[in-house]
């Protein structure tokens, strides 16, 4: 047993002809329980692919991924996914469903197909409403998600992830396309989850200032490899040095 919740050893994904290399090309990284880590890098360097491979959405061709001391394979994937929540770029919500229904979708992994065939239990609905209230969306619970603003949608997506009670939260560009206020609200929510609940957070971000403000450690990728792992002080200079 060790204190690392995420371990990647020599991780390599399939060859991408457009890039002339594997998207991830020998990733080695260790992330401790309760850490807030930010993934940085230019477009196409493999940040989102790394996140997606941590939940088995991108298969690896070499190397290994260990989550909570469990090596990832097709047999262990359902168990790993129970501990990991993922916030997709744009939320990954069903726009035609209400905010409440979207949050309830977070319970699908814990309920069988028969249990959810006619809807969700009263207990699940109360829990979902409580989460929406906590995130300041109680009054919008029955509103169609497509009618919510970008920031509100992102908070619905956070509520949907939280109802899963994950230990690890993977976040893919949570503030892309949001205004300053909405960005701050989303980042504040993530920060509170980290500080108050001790959740491990791995986030892909583009804003170095925000990364410095909220994250404890930065991982910089370039051409499918990690080129910097370390503290978040003076990220601007660090980033310029490795990407220049």
């Amino acid at each position: 047993m060790n204190d690392y919740v995420i371990e990647c050893h020599n991780l390599e994904t399939a060859y991408a002809p457009s890039l002339n290399r594997p998207i991830l090309n020998g990733i080695n990284c260790l992330i401790k329980r309760g850490e807030f880590v930010v993934l940085l890098g230019l477009n196409g360097v493999g940040k989102s692919t790394l996140l997606r491979s941590l939940v088995g959405l991108v298969p690896s061709v070499k190397g290994e991924i260990i989550i909570n001391n469990v090596e990832m394979n097709s047999r262990t994937l359902p168990k790993i996914r129970r501990d990991v929540g993922m916030l997709f770029q744009g939320g990954g919500l069903i726009r035609q469903l209400s905010a409440l229904e979207n949050v309830l979708c977070g319970c699908l992994g814990k309920r069988t197909t028969w249990q959810t065939l006619l809807g969700f239990s009263k207990r699940d609905r109360i829990l979902a409403l409580e989460l929406l209230n906590q995130l300041g969306l109680g009054e919008l619970a029955f509103q169609k998600t497509s009618q919510l603003s970008g920031g509100q949608q992102q908070r619905v997506a956070i509520a949907r992830t939280l109802i899963q009670l994950p230990q690890i939260l993977l976040v893919d560009e949570p503030i892309t396309g949001l205004d300053v206020i909405a960005s701050q609200q989303v980042m504040q929510t993530l920060s509170e989850l980290h500080t108050q609940q001790g959740m491990t957070i791995v986030a892909v971000l583009h804003d170095l200032g925000i990364a410095e403000k909220y994250a404890q450690r930065a991982i910089v990728l370039d051409a499918g490899r990690i080129v910097y792992q370390g503290h978040c002080d003076n990220l601007q200079a660090q980033f310029a040095r490795v990407s220049g």
């Binding site: 939940v55 959405l57 359902p78 996914r81 129970r82 990991v84 929540g85 993922m86 997709f88 770029q89 744009g90 990954g92 919500l93 069903i94 726009r95 035609q96 469903l97 229904e101 979708c105 977070g106 699908l108 992994g109 814990k110 069988t112 197909t113 959810t116 065939l117 169609k144 997506a157 949907r160 899963q164």
Partner: protein, 264 residues
């Protein structure tokens, strides 16, 4: 080497590619017109016959209005059941054809089935079902049901393929089963578009049902052909006017409904 120079030339003279496309379009249209063997002189000389035929259609004979309404109700009934049967049968075929849901081998089979159904004209389907069940609306309804698959399966397939992949991946990561993903991920996204297509098909089938009547498969088309065959053109006009009114009303209604569904 020569093709390299041609590509380079196209890059420096972008208008050359536009001119080339225009030339190809003109050639294709010219080829198609030649194939038609149109005789413009004959068309000009036949104009008096066309106007004579049109004048014989008027004024409409309103004495057959009750027959027209009765036949039209049968046409609407045929379209309603034909569209419903077709829509139900289209769902599994569409799922089996969608590239984001079905495996390759199943997609090929389902697409082949779709293409086969689509390439059979409605009138042939009408003849087949008249031979099977005899003259009348039941033959027309079954023919419409099969005819509908050719269109709705394709439309439903496109609606399924247009589903946001991130939303399905997010449910997959949550640990939802395939059926749960279908119920909570695919169905809500496909339903508004699918219902819109189904309403359009219902409206389209009313017109298609009129054609099926020609081969004795029931509906207003049967009456229409009887009047034209008997040179009772004014009665045929009444039939066409009643059809026009109903198609316009249904089109207005379904357009509004589709608009509301689109905004969902």
């Amino acid at each position: 080497m020569s093709s390299f120079f041609k590509l380079k030339r196209l890059r420096f003279y972008p208008w050359l590619s536009s001119l080339l496309i225009l030339l190809i379009v003109v050639v294709v249209y010219g080829w198609a017109l030649r194939g038609l063997k149109l005789d413009f002189e004959l068309l000009r000389s036949s104009w008096p016959y066309i106007t004579d035929f049109i004048t014989r259609l008027f004024p409409p004979d309103w004495k057959v209005l009750d027959i027209a309404v009765k036949a039209l109700i049968e046409t609407v009934q045929m379209s309603l059941w034909g569209t419903t049967i077709g829509a139900i049968l289209s769902v599994p075929i569409a799922i089996a054809s969608a590239s984001n849901v079905a495996p390759g081998w199943l997609r090929s089979l389902a697409n082949l089935l779709q293409n086969t159904v689509r390439s059979v004209p409605s009138i042939i389907l009408g003849l087949i079902f008249v031979a099977a069940t005899g003259l009348g609306a039941s033959a027309g309804t079954l023919a419409l049901g099969i005819y509908t698959i050719g269109y709705l399966a394709k439309f439903y397939q496109q609606a399924i393929e247009a589903v946001d992949p991130h939303s399905l991946e997010s449910l997959q990561v949550i640990g939802a089963s395939k059926l749960q993903i279908a119920q909570y991920g695919i169905l809500p996204q496909v339903l508004p578009l699918g219902l819109g297509y189904t309403f359009w098909m219902f409206e389209y089938n009313i017109r298609a049902a009129s054609v099926l009547g020609v081969v004795g498969a029931g509906g207003i088309g049967f009456q229409l052909k009887s009047y034209i065959d008997g040179f009772e053109y004014t009665k045929a006009t009444t039939m066409m006017l009643v059809l026009l009114v109903v198609v316009t009303v249904i089109d207005t209604f379904s357009s509004q409904l589709r608009h509301r569904l689109d905004s969902m």
